[in-house]
């Protein structure tokens, strides 16, 4: 049984940073509940002692590169897609000093 309710949706929206109207939240709740019920069937699979698959290509490991400077993106190219910039930096609304 999923633990999805209005509050849970609200928390998910906060975690994902997607703003949603009340109606949209209600719709999403319905959709997600349905999907979660469907997904519930996984619980019937016996996975005792089965290790989670963290990689598809077995044995792949140690892919590394030399410590060399290679691709540098010119600043104008980077900023050409920026919604707002100032002094060579990406501009955002003022931030309360935390972190």
């Amino acid at each position: 049984m999923s633990n999805l309710d209005k509050e849970a949706i609200h928390n998910l929206i906060k975690l994902s940073r997607i703003e949603c109207s009340e109606e949209e939240q209600a719709r999403l709740l319905k959709d997600l509940e349905k999907i979660l019920v469907y997904i519930e069937q996984l619980q019937e699979v016996d996975t005792a002692n089965v290790s989670p698959c963290n990689q598809v290509l077995e044995g792949a490991c140690n892919v590394m590169r030399e410590d060399e400077v290679r691709d540098i993106m010119p600043r104008e190219l980077f900023l050409s897609n920026a919604p707002s910039q100032v002094g060579g930096m990406i501009r955002v609304p003022p931030v309360i000093k935390s972190n």
């Binding site: 540098i72 930096m89 955002v92």
Partner: protein
């Protein structure tokens, strides 16, 4: 509960050190500090869609090197994970870090605290990428991604530190190791070394830990000591004044930052719930699998570490343990010392001039001997002159002041150029002074003959004063002894 008087602080430190590789951890953009904003970037470290991380092998090597240097266990298998959180300085809104399978486990560090050697345990060390920098202005903020993607190792101590003094000692010992293996610039002002402290207190003998406070923004070891001390006092004060309330309500988890002006810790944010970072294995990367041969190769080629150098100074140079510890704390200073040793073998004197005399003179300039402009060879010459008797110890202090005022000026030339610095060896001249002092201080002569050695030193001092420091101490000693014994 009755008011207990024995409180104990429990401190854990999380140290982030930027590795001084040429390129970033997962991006091949340059790893450099201080350049124009957004000039050391590429698609990976600015989180462009379609960009993919590729691990820097030198960052792995430095992490393993550090692990070996603290005698930790190097994980044969480690992997990366995504840690999700939203902030403008994060190019992808997730950091790539190592959550449950870090590259280094355990380890320990030896540090001297108040003259005693203590062993501090490390819990783990892992690799992760740094965030960019947010620059704050009144009506906006600017984001610079030069630092985004720089390789970090995060060094997490066990909560085995029990005072601010210990915390500083541990921190300095970690910094020294990083410096000696050349893994990081370790510059706290520039941010290549950052320390967060987790502080809680409890009654001595109490089992379990109470709520902890995280302190950030401590940009020097001295500020860190002040901050931790202040926080410990604050917590004890809170517990003491609200003894009737349940413990977990008096101090609840929160993050504080150190305000260097107010000299106190200031609340940044409360942590009602643990942040949900939703860690899961990074699908764009493959695991790191290290062989015994690789690890052994790194361990066996470690350069001399601070503790080893300290021990060497004690055994080979007969330096007292405390001086050896202090002079090896900063590799550049230790190297400077060894440079001077090539020209002058009086290790103890060199040490004293570095750690006490010049350190004192440099204190308010914000510089160290390294960037003072005074080369090691000059220090060596100064000490050599004292040892030869060319100048007295008293005069040497004046010469040192002159060296500070005109860095780069050869002390031998300073002495040659100043007649006041020429010591007086003329027995006759000194004898006159000795006689005068003896005549004016008969009580001291009596005291000395009665067994008070200090009185002799006093008499020597008086002669030196009269000669304005120029009399040869050897001659003064001999003459005084001679004359007193015939009195």
């Amino acid at each position: 509960m009755n008011h207990p008087t024995q409180w104990e602080a429990v401190i854990g430190l999380e140290i982030h050190a930027e590795l001084n590789t040429k390129s970033k951890l997962f991006s091949s953009a340059p790893n450099r500090f201080g350049d124009e904003p957004n000039t050391n970037i590429n698609d990976v470290c600015t989180g462009q869609p379609g960009a993919l991380p590729v691990l820097n092998k030198e960052a792995v090597r430095k992490a393993v090197q550090f692990g070996c240097a603290i005698n930790a266990q190097i994980a044969k298998f480690s992997k990366f994970d995504r840690k999700s959180y939203f902030y403008p300085d994060s190019p992808r809104n997730f950091q790539i870090t190592q959550f449950d399978e870090p590259i280094v486990l355990g380890g320990s560090v030896v540090a001297e605290v108040d003259g005693q050697e203590k062993v501090f345990a490390v819990n783990r060390v892992h690799l992760e990428d740094d965030a960019g920098m947010l620059k704050h202005f009144p009506t906006f903020a600017g984001v610079d991604y030069n630092r985004a993607g720089v390789p970090l190792i995060e060094i997490v101590s066990e909560p085995c530190i029990h005072s601010a003094r210990e915390a500083a000692a541990y921190g300095m010992a970690i910094k020294a190791i990083l410096q000696y293996i050349d893994a990081s610039d370790c510059n706290m002002e520039e941010g290549s070394l950052r320390i967060d402290a987790n502080v809680s207190v409890r009654v001595k003998g109490e089992k379990g830990l109470r709520n902890k406070i995280e302190i950030k923004n401590m940009n020097s070891f001295s500020n860190m000591e002040l901050a931790i001390d202040a926080e410990i006092k604050r917590q004890i004060h809170e517990y003491t004044n609200h003894a009737s309330r349940p413990q977990h309500e008096i101090i609840s988890q929160a993050t504080y930052r150190w305000d260097p002006e107010k000299k106190e810790t200031v609340l940044m944010r409360r942590k009602e719930q643990a942040d949900d970072y939703r860690y899961f294995p990074e699908p764009d990367l493959v695991p790191i699998i290290l062989t015994d041969a690789y690890i052994e190769g790194i361990r066996s080629s470690l350069p001399e570490l601070p503790l080893q150098r300290e021990r060497r100074y004690v055994s080979e140079l007969a330096l007292p343990a405390h001086s050896a510890f202090a002079i090896t704390l900063d590799k550049k200073i230790a190297d400077y010392f060894e440079e001077a040793l090539k020209l002058c073998s009086n290790a103890r004197a060199l040490c004293n001039w570095i750690l006490v005399e010049f350190a004192g003179r440099l204190k308010d300039t914000g510089k160290t001997l390294i960037d003072s402009g005074i080369p090691a060879s000059h220090l060596a010459k100064l000490v050599a002159m004292i040892d030869k008797g060319t100048i007295t110890g008293r005069i040497a202090k004046d010469v040192a002041d002159d060296m500070m005022a005109a860095p780069g000026k050869d002390p031998e030339q300073i002495v040659a150029a100043n007649p006041d610095y020429q010591p007086v060896h003329d027995q006759g001249e000194i004898e006159v002074l000795v006689d005068k002092v003896l005549a004016e201080n008969m009580q001291s002569v009596v005291d000395f003959k009665a067994g008070r050695d200090k009185a002799f030193a006093f008499l020597v001092g008086q002669v030196m004063k009269l000669s304005r420091g120029k009399a040869s101490p050897q001659i003064v000693n001999d003459l005084l002894n001679q004359k007193i014994s015939s009195l």
